[in-house]
Symmetry: C2
Subunit: 394 residues, 2 copies
């Protein structure tokens, strides 16, 4: 018989355009099960649980939930807090006090770690409890799963942005640098390659955090592309670093995870613009840089259909496995086929997802380290969905 | 009888997502008229005409043209050149040599001026010639016309971007500054107000180049909003200046029009972030800035339906009036009704559009100068089209 009690669900880390799909998928599945005696939404994740700041999620209408599912960013509020032992103990205390038997945490590898610590506490105290981590990250850097809900929609935004920006650059030639989110993993920056329709289309250069960024090579690469096409569009990850692993440019500010602030500033783009101008010392060249920033993870209506569906289904799957099978772990996606695309879901132990993240495989990165491979596009295409066709006169 | 001869069409200035609609509207209309003996597309506007760098626009299939119409950025290539007398004489020489009797120039007020100079030359030499300026600018700053093709699609991008970003900011609270394009006119920045669904939604502050930007007032405004809502989303035009009209922050670079470079750099956003942090000296506050950059004018699929239709129709109208009525001038849009929305087109003399641009009316800007009015939203809404509805849990 299924474990009976309340469930708590929370959202953590940087929001995505489909994180509310996972939330709604989980809520609608939970409402089907009598074993779940209450559905509590934690406001701002762990921070809300500690304060017992909950929203009753049993009362919203189906149409309100559908509207929420299509709204970007965490509807429950999110949090960047990395809880220590004391915080986790407080969370567990709140759970016991409220007869919470199910905990669903939507987030990345840090959130999986939080879930893991709490699951271990419950085990130690022999408190009957199911913890499920529901994956979410535009960075696509979780281990085990083929890909992460949230990634493909952000990838679609990036690919479309480069598609339009490349036409803009073709109309008014020059060097254009676009800085893409992704601290340690280049997946999102690499998605820019989907913008290409013809051989001469940008992005002409793609720099990922998986490879050392050398300023002199970058300058040389840009000059080579300009010599060939009379213009150059560059995709660069906000996380690129030098040979010692130091960020190329940053404000120096750090968050509670000890991460240097990379997003929400134009520092890297402006730095690289300066380096291109320096490389053309004396010559007149139009150089511009944009930092795509938070739009990549929050732009309404730019959503991958596969991503929205998988985010929804992974939320529902996690709840179902917890209630019906008493499972603990993280929901992962298994790719069954790329063409036609097909996938299913499974549960992997929290320890296999928590803490450490992953990055792009070598086979996805070109030998020169400034582009992606066909294998990458084969992986990416079905996730992002069909791209519009561009019309050209020359 | 209609004037018989070839036509030249060109695109100029910053591209938009619907500038190719105007091009395709003009081409399809021109193909209906026997008086037009050839349709020449000038590559990169005036620069291409001077080099006789033309594309034959009589050969493309209807489906290829439809594809082009839905592709952002100038399909013929654009140019930022402000021609002097010598350049205009060269253009006119090329026109005479090639029996060009119609010139259609798609662009803003600078392009209208170029068209005006060439029209005057033809008049002086008694060369039978029709010149039509087809309006285009995301800045919406042309005189006479109710609004400009290209603006509403960029406005839709900005409004959607703020809608999603405001949810992101609500999920992870802090101060978020978004820098929007618009050198002298605040129309595009003001479009951010359409993102609001509820009273507490951002943008909470809107700063336009029509008002003096005072850093101390800005700091105070932000602190007041944060005190009320625990967070603050700011829309600021890239063109805001101090009481002497100097830009608040820029790279100092100038284009051929003598304009300081404002886009393609994160300088203003980073400067304002620093000012907010300064205002909270000692207190911990999360401050981020994004500069929307070129995505505003080039993002594929984010198009206002009204804008796409009007861009197409204004191109066709210009050609029809030139061939059937022998008119010279600039195509303008007359608003017949806001609800339901209805408009038509008319020709205004080139001199009424050329050179000087316009800016937002006082009635559109709040008394405090940091927000817009209901009159502005009434003007804007039908142009941008219906916005998605957001789902919220609190």
């Amino acid at each position: 018989m299924a474990l009976k009690g309340k469930m708590v669900i929370g959202q953590s880390g940087g929001p995505t355009t489909v994180i509310n799909q996972s939330l709604v998928g989980a809520i609608l599945e939970a409402r089907k099960h009598e074993a779940i005696t209450g559905i509590l939404g934690a406001r701002h994740g762990i921070a809300g649980i500690m304060k017992e700041d909950f929203i009753d999620l049993t009362t919203q209408s189906g149409s309100d939930l559908e509207c929420l599912a299509n709204t970007p960013a965490a509807g429950l509020g999110s949090v960047r807090l990395k809880p220590g032992k004391a915080e986790c103990e407080r969370v567990f205390e709140v759970f016991k006090k409220n007869d919470v038997r199910y905990f669903f945490y939507i987030g990345g590898n840090d959130s999986a770690e939080t879930a893991h610590i709490i699951a271990e506490m419950a085990k130690e105290e022999n408190y009957d409890f199911c913890t499920i981590h529901l994956p979410k990250t535009i960075d696509n850097d979780l281990r085990v799963t083929d890909h992460c809900p949230g990634f493909a929609s952000a990838a679609r935004f990036v690919a479309l942005a480069f598609m339009g920006d490349d036409r803009d650059n073709a109309a008014l030639s020059g060097v254009k640098i676009n800085v893409v989110m992704g601290r340690h993993a280049g997946f999102l920056t690499a998605a820019s390659a989907l913008a290409r329709q013809d051989e001469s289309d940008g992005p002409h250069l793609i720099y990922l955090p998986e490879r050392v960024f050398d300023v002199a090579s970058f300058q040389q690469d840009v000059k080579s592309v300009v010599a060939k096409y009379g213009r150059c569009v560059v995709a660069v990850s906000e996380g690129v670093g030098d040979k010692d692993g130091n960020p190329i440019a940053s404000t120096g500010e750090r968050d509670s995870h000890g991460n240097v602030q990379l997003s929400g500033t134009g520092a890297l783009g402006d730095f690289l613009s300066g380096k291109v101008k320096e490389a053309y010392a004396g010559e007149s060249v139009r150089v511009r840089a944009d930092t795509f920033g938070y739009l990549q993870r929050s732009f309404p209506t730019i959503v991958s259909e596969v991503d929205a569906r998988e985010a929804r289904e992974s939320g529902a799957f996690g709840v179902k496995q917890a209630v019906e099978q008493g499972e603990n772990g993280s929901v992962a996606i298994r790719r069954l086929s790329s063409d036609p695309y097909a996938s299913d879901y499974f549960i992997t132990p929290l320890s296999t997802v928590a803490r450490e993240a992953t990055e792009m495989k070598d086979e996805y990165i070109s030998a020169e380290g400034n582009d992606v491979t066909e294998a990458w596009l084969t992986y990416l295409r079905p996730l992002v969905g069909p791209m519009p066709r561009l019309g050209k006169l020359f």
